[in-house]
Amino acid sequence: MTMDFAALLFYAFGALALGSAIVVISQRNPIYSAFALIVTLCSLSAIYGLLGSPFIAVLQIVVYAGAIMVLFLFVLMLLNVKREGRDPGDGRTLKGVALALAVLLALQIGTVLMRARLGPARPLDASTEKMARDLFSLPYLYVFEATSVLILAALVGAVALARKDS
């Protein structure tokens, strides 16, 4: 089966992403889930690179795997979480219903996406210079500055929520 190298890499990283996502939702120990999520994020970053988005690929590693997941691991270590206990009683029925609903969700979204009538593929130029020019010129400049206010609000909120009342 002849497949060019890019497609082979895409399928390999896609399988890795799906496999570690299954580990995320199935592991009892949340630290293992966090590590599996890091593997998923890094394989998604590789897929972004294959899809012609080098800026977003690097941003995924730096922001998601490097900051958000580290924050998750900090909180997990701080709160010293143990393994999740067994579900009481109705474990089997709940899992069956949940799986059926998830399959239904996937079929619904998948059908809508597969029926989208797109035109022919057009070339993409998403170099960092072009992305920066887009981000720093109108209208995305407004959104850019607004997200800085959002991050400030999140910072103040997180400090206020996690502070000890002494």
Binding site: F10, G14, A17, L18, A21, V24, I25, P30, S33, A34, L37, T40, L44, I47, Y48, L51, G52, S53, F55, I56, Q60, Y64, A67, I68, L71, F72, V75, L78, L79, V81, E84, G85, D87, K95, A98, L99, L101, A102, L105, A106, I109, G110, M114, L118, A121, R122, P123, L124, D125, A126, M131, D134, L150, I151, A154, A158, V159, A160, L161, A162
Partner: protein, 97 residues
Amino acid sequence: MQHALLLSVGLFALGALGVFLRRNIITILMCIELMLNAANLAFVAFSNHLGTREGQILVFFVMTVAAAEAAVGLAIVIALHRGKDTLDVDAFSVLKW
């Protein structure tokens, strides 16, 4: 590109399954991040096919919002743990009707 969309749908369904089934709050937050990443993948796949950069600019902002939301969500988890010393979602049932 269709395969990238199928991967995005699969990851989203897995994340939704995790939010539904898990009982540890932090694991639920991680499954929400998984769903956000699935949406990001769909954006990047469409941006790649249509040849515009707007999908990726939106991914930039989705990542920013996800970071802010993860920070505030984990601060809430810390505050909850301080009150009840457990991370089991079933323990926080005061607002149930």
